[in-house]
């Protein structure tokens, strides 16, 4: 009986296993193998094992790209958390009707192409664009800031692109909050800020951490933001991988860079589990 039942289960689960192997494990193994192969003279790869691709990452040119990417990702993540947490928090505290409306407003931009939205930012940020005109009209600045194609422009674009992920994951964990706990904290003598820091923040930490992962990891790889708003002046790991793959046609090196990024991601998720003590991610995942 027992064995029969187990066989039955395996049959039901088979499509899931097949899917996982074909679409997740397969490509990953392919990439891992590729990262240890040698680039051919003109096109494709040669089947000879090498660690050269990983050694190259340590060269200052590429290593700096990693360092700069991480710096930008930290900045972007911090900004996204700073703006996204309060937004998600207050959204969850709205009355249900208006909450639905707000959720819709947050989601709507997802239905537009993200490239389109980035071009929108060009109009805002370019020299004598909307932002410059506004600031000059308000006599805050006397000449155009020329933000487009600078580091801040890339940061703004990334914060904009990634903010919804933070808002939604914070929202989903704040929405689950048992507010009686906050009342209990107040009842026992905590000020509103004290109750937030000792009760609300720790209990919504899973949402915040999910938001951090959903922001930090992509912000290292959103090459098109860096390309469009940074004008090729700011090179991120994502841009580097794309360039190596699509322009230089160095597939093994691109694969090695990707493997390192995946390792960083894995470390972050491992940290997440350590911090929140849970295996599942809040909301989005």
């Amino acid at each position: 009986m027992q064995r029969e039942r187990r066989g039955e289960n395996a049959a039901f689960l088979a499509p899931m296993y097949i899917f996982t192997v074909i679409f997740l494990i397969g490509p990953f193994v392919y990439m891992l193998v590729l990262s240890f192969l040698t680039r051919a003279e003109t096109w494709g790869v040669v089947n000879s094992f090498t660690l050269r691709n990983y050694e190259r990452i340590l060269e200052p040119l590429y290593f700096n790209t990693f360092v700069e990417s991480v710096k930008l990702a930290v900045l972007v993540t911090a900004l996204v958390a700073l703006f996204g947490y309060p937004f998600g928090y207050f959204m969850a505290k709205l009355p249900p009707k208006r909450r639905g409306l707000m959720l819709m407003l947050v989601m709507i931009p997802f239905y537009t192409s993200s490239l389109m939205r980035l071009y929108g930012w060009i109009i805002v940020l370019r020299a004598n664009g909307l932002l410059d005109k506004l600031l000059m009209a308000l006599h805050i600045t006397s000449e155009p800031l020329k933000i487009l194609y600078t580091y801040p422009a890339v940061a703004v674009g990334m914060v904009y692109a990634l903010l919804p992920f933070m808002m939604l994951s914070v929202y989903s964990s704040v929405e689950k909050m048992d507010w009686a706990l906050v009342e209990a904290a107040r009842d026992m003598g905590a000020s509103p800020a004290g109750a937030f820091l000792t009760v609300t923040l720790p209990l919504t930490m899973p949402g915040l951490m999910t938001g951090v992962i959903l922001t930090f990891v992509p912000s290292m790889g959103l090459f098109f933001v860096a390309d469009i708003l940074g004008g090729n002046k700011i090179v991120l790991v994502g841009s580097l991988i794309q360039e190596q793959l699509m322009k230089v046609h160095d597939q093994p090196f691109a694969a090695a860079l990707s493997v390192i990024m995946m390792l960083m991601m894995t470390v972050m998720i491992w940290l997440y589990r350590r911090v929140t003590g849970s295996g599942e991610m809040e909301g989005m995942l």
Partner: protein, 357 residues
């Protein structure tokens, strides 16, 4: 005793859905156990939340130890609450939960540890400091919630249906323990329940609440034996309320229903003959009379057995439902039988009509 610690002065509160509190006043003495008794939606939880400062009132005042705290935030009131679903912090150990209030007030660590272990001793859970709330049973969580409140030495302890989630046996046991704790600590308890047995068992005084008004405030025996109005009689004593007109015969007050009348206890308030009269008679005092004796006619509708008593639901010709209860498991009466019933005048208490509000 006798020294007022908490006073509610004519408190009103409305939400968008309507008025919840309709001007309630109450004075609680030091060390007193007061129960707010009422069915759900009567405003008892709102009253408690207003005392705690978790809800503001539209008008009226909350006075604690002679100080008006109506506009004070909860953290500056010196009262503590045991929440209905305990509201233990799931991310903190039992020790951190109980010590929370003391830690917020920056008391030395050694003092907190001592106070926590004393409080756990008090609620009979010694050695549970390291446990997490998720590792505790319902009854244990309840005890931790109580320990977390009393450790702060509140002037008044507010308890919002603290035993509601426990099974019957545990509830009985906790009733006794709570009462013991209250005597031992000498703290004023304001206790909420919808269970009249619990209220009668534990309280020094009971405030019966309905539609945001205190229907009657009094000791358990006052509430039980001398209900002020029909609602209190029905809710607390599960009494039948018979409605008719007042009549006097040989100087005795009588209840007339149709062509039958019966003597009742005269409250001495000078009820005029012909005035509408409401009389409460508890189910165990409904007597069945031999056929042919003058009495009120009714038909047996339903028969059931509960809590060691046989319960007979009767219906009078004018549609009133009367419950009669008897010891024992069965009777010869079956649904459909016509019966005649009456009651002893000493057990028929005149009550006011239920408030229209």
């Amino acid at each position: 005793m006798g020294e007022p610690i908490l006073e509610l002065r004519d408190i009103t509160k409305s939400f968008a859905e309507g008025t919840v509190l309709n001007g309630i006043s109450l004075t609680a003495d030091r060390g007193e156990f007061i129960t707010l008794l009422g069915s759900s939606g009567c405003g008892k939880t709102t009253t408690l939340r207003i005392i705690a400062g978790l809800e503001s009132c539209d008008s009226g005042a909350v006075i604690l130890e002679g100080r008006d705290v109506t506009d004070e935030p909860p953290e500056r009131r010196g009262v503590n609450m045991v929440f209905q679903n305990y509201a233990l912090f799931p991310h903190m150990s039992v020790e951190a939960n109980i010590g929370y209030g003391l830690k917020i007030r920056r008391r030395p660590r050694a003092e907190i540890r001592k106070a926590v272990s004393d409080a756990l001793e008090m609620v009979r859970l010694p050695g549970y400091e390291r446990r997490m709330p998720s590792e505790l049973s319902g009854g244990q969580r309840q005890r931790v919630a109580i320990a977390r409140a009393i450790v702060n030495e509140p002037k008044v302890l507010l308890l919002d249906e603290p035993l509601g989630a426990l099974d019957l046996q545990l509830r009985r046991q906790m009733q006794i323990e709570l009462k013991r704790l209250q005597k031992q600590l000498g703290i004023t308890f304001i206790y909420i329940t919808h269970d009249q047995e619990e209220a009668l068992n534990m309280s020094d005084r009971i405030a019966v609440m309905k539609n945001g008004v205190f229907q009657q405030i009094g000791t358990p025996s006052e509430i039980y034996d001398r209900p002020k109005n029909a609602y209190v009689a029905q809710f607390v004593g599960s009494a039948n309320v018979l409605t008719g007109t007042a009549e006097y015969a040989d100087g005795r007050l009588m209840l007339r229903r149709g062509d039958v009348r019966a003597a009742v206890t005269d409250p001495g308030t000078g009820i005029g003959a012909g005035a509408p009269l409401h009389v409460a008679v508890r189910s165990e005092y409904i007597d069945f009379l031999p056929p042919g004796t003058p009495g009120f006619a009714a038909v047996v509708k339903e028969k059931s057995f509960a809590a060691g008593m046989l319960r007979l639901a009767l219906e009078t010709p004018d549609g009133a439902e009367i419950i009669a209860s008897r010891h024992g498991i069965d009777s010869e009466l079956v649904p459909g039988d016509a019966v005649t019933f009456g009651f002893d005048a000493g057990h028929a208490v005149v009550v006011e009509a239920e408030d229209a509000t």
